[in-house]
Amino acid sequence: MTTMGTRILTVEDDERIRASVKLALETEGWTIEEAENGERAIEIFSQAPTEVVLIDIMLPGLDGFEVCRAIRELSDVPIIMVTARDDTNDIVAGLEAGADDYLTKPFAPKELSARIRALLRRARAAGPALSHLRFGELDIHQDEGRVSAAGHEVHLTRTEFNLLCELANNPSRVFSREMLLERVWGYGYFGDGRLVDVHIRRLRTKIEQDPANPRRVITVRGLGYKLQP
């Protein structure tokens, strides 16, 4: 995949970080839009949506979570939260706010590039993927990127959609968190399992009739998750 021309919005109040990230990412071939606060970020994004958004959690005024939610309202664009703390609450809260992934400062430019690439990539179906999958009330149009549950269109983010396709292309097969991290996020074994857990939770609230008692996206204790046909 070429990175040329792919526009990335970075929301960061620290001018030096903004400048260095821009330098490094542009060296990698991405095109960078900058915003020094949340309001500006939302303004830029609503005028000309970018393909990826990078949001620092600690921002003056609107904080990173609020910016993330606002942009999520507008688009299913991949969002990466950036945190300067290992505070586990921050990370989970960022994911709950709709982020697709997170990075902890100081992250390396190569790592950031890898994250962005993984998020932009569509789920690769193993074997010949069927463009349309149907499980009871759940319809998945893989080629159109569309999902409907009980006849109603469901709006999924790109990562949620990729996750669902990964599970749906192998119904009943149990995927460990590590497998899903690798296939959906491009992490190796050592990725953070909470990414999977939070996304599964979000997916359930969108496609399950009773998210507390899921009937499609099932937890297999100690192993991972599977899609029940």
Partner: protein
Amino acid sequence: MEPTQRQFGLRTRIVASFVVLSALLALIISLATYLLVQNSMVERRESIATSNAFANARLVRELLLDEADHGFSDGGDSAEYLPRSPAFGVAALRYGSIVQHTTSNFIDGSFNPQNDLPPGLQAVVANHQTAIQRVRLKGSPVLVVGIALRVPAGERTLSADGPSSPAAADWAEYYEVISLADIEQALRRLATALIVMGLSATAAGAVTGRWVSHRVLAPLVEMNSAVHALATMSFDTKLPATGDPDLAPLVSSFNHTVAALQERIDRDGRFASDVGHELRSPLTTLTHSIDVLQRYLQEMPVPAQQAVALLGEEFDRFRQLIGDLLEISRFDAGAQQLQRSPLMIGELVRHAAHLTIPDCVSVSIDEDLEDVVIMADKRRLVQVLSNLSVNAQKYAGGVTEFRVTRVVGGVEIAVLDRGPGIAVPDRRRIFERFSRGSTAGNRGSDQGTGLGLALVREHVKLHGGTVEVQDRPDGETGACFVVFLPANPVSIYDTAEDFEAAGFGLDP
């Protein structure tokens, strides 16, 4: 200074005091009661018996005098002088050759006043005096009253050749033996009752002592558990307010201390977090800037290339050090939390082994651990294994084997190398911060942060486990780091109930 004697606890001393005090009181009261009752009973019996005896004696004397007037027909022996049934016991009379006694069921028939009555008493009475004595007669307690009766028979004796007069003497000896068995029995019952009461009082004293000591020591016990909780960094421990004026100052100063400590630790925690945040921002800028520099390395003059290479290397180490410092400062602030998730322990060790040294390291995993899942923090376990590998790389030429075994209460991960091994005295010390191997001092190209093993210990401790260095089990040179993780391993083929029981409830 060490106390040389064994000290008894406060509780023991309080209870003992109560026991001793109540036993002493019970003893005094019992003794007084017993003696008072005994005296009054015996005295009463004595006075009645004595006055009765004197009345009887007067009667006997009258009869003797009467018989003497008649010149003691039949030698006086045929006459009955003694009362037929003395109120309390046996009566006996000796007057010259006349020796008579009655019988009673409380003394065997073989009663012989001459032998059975106390000789001392007989001597006193023979000496014309009255005597009272308490003795045991054939095993039963009796009161013997001896009365000397003056019978001036001599004046009335008619002739020397008449019927033999018993009145060789002017004096008769009259004895009454009164049984005290009923009194003795009553006193024995009283003594039994008093002993039972005394023991009960002592027991009650012990119970009261326990209760009192419990009441008195309750604040101490409370304080002890509070201090204990404090030692485990749980600062929400507070002693409940008390109205007791003796305890209030202690409670208040304890709570103040806890609050001050809490604030201090919070401040330190905040400081570490703030420092972390403040450090991470410039580090991010530096990371990205150095990356750009390295990308254009080829376009730089040679000295600049060398400088950038040095900068890059040293920066990596600096970044690692900051990361480790921040991590360990979070342990100090007590702000660390486990992110437990179900992990296939065999898979984890294989990945970690592969990540650190891809070549020629053997990984052996107990067969029955292959499909087993434990609840643990993946990031921390990976760091533990990675730090142990880095350590082996630095000092021992690298890890040669990872070995995972199932042990009682959990799993054990052994990390083996073929280095020089670690001397016994160093085996604890190496887990301390910034302690380096005995070859330390010479930093050379040392890439470590000095915190690797300290972090290993902290991570393992957070899991409730232990880490230690041992000799290689095969006896060859080298070190064997053994990490024990308490866990309830569950096979992936087990039932959902087994997972619940193994604490997998956190699993979303």
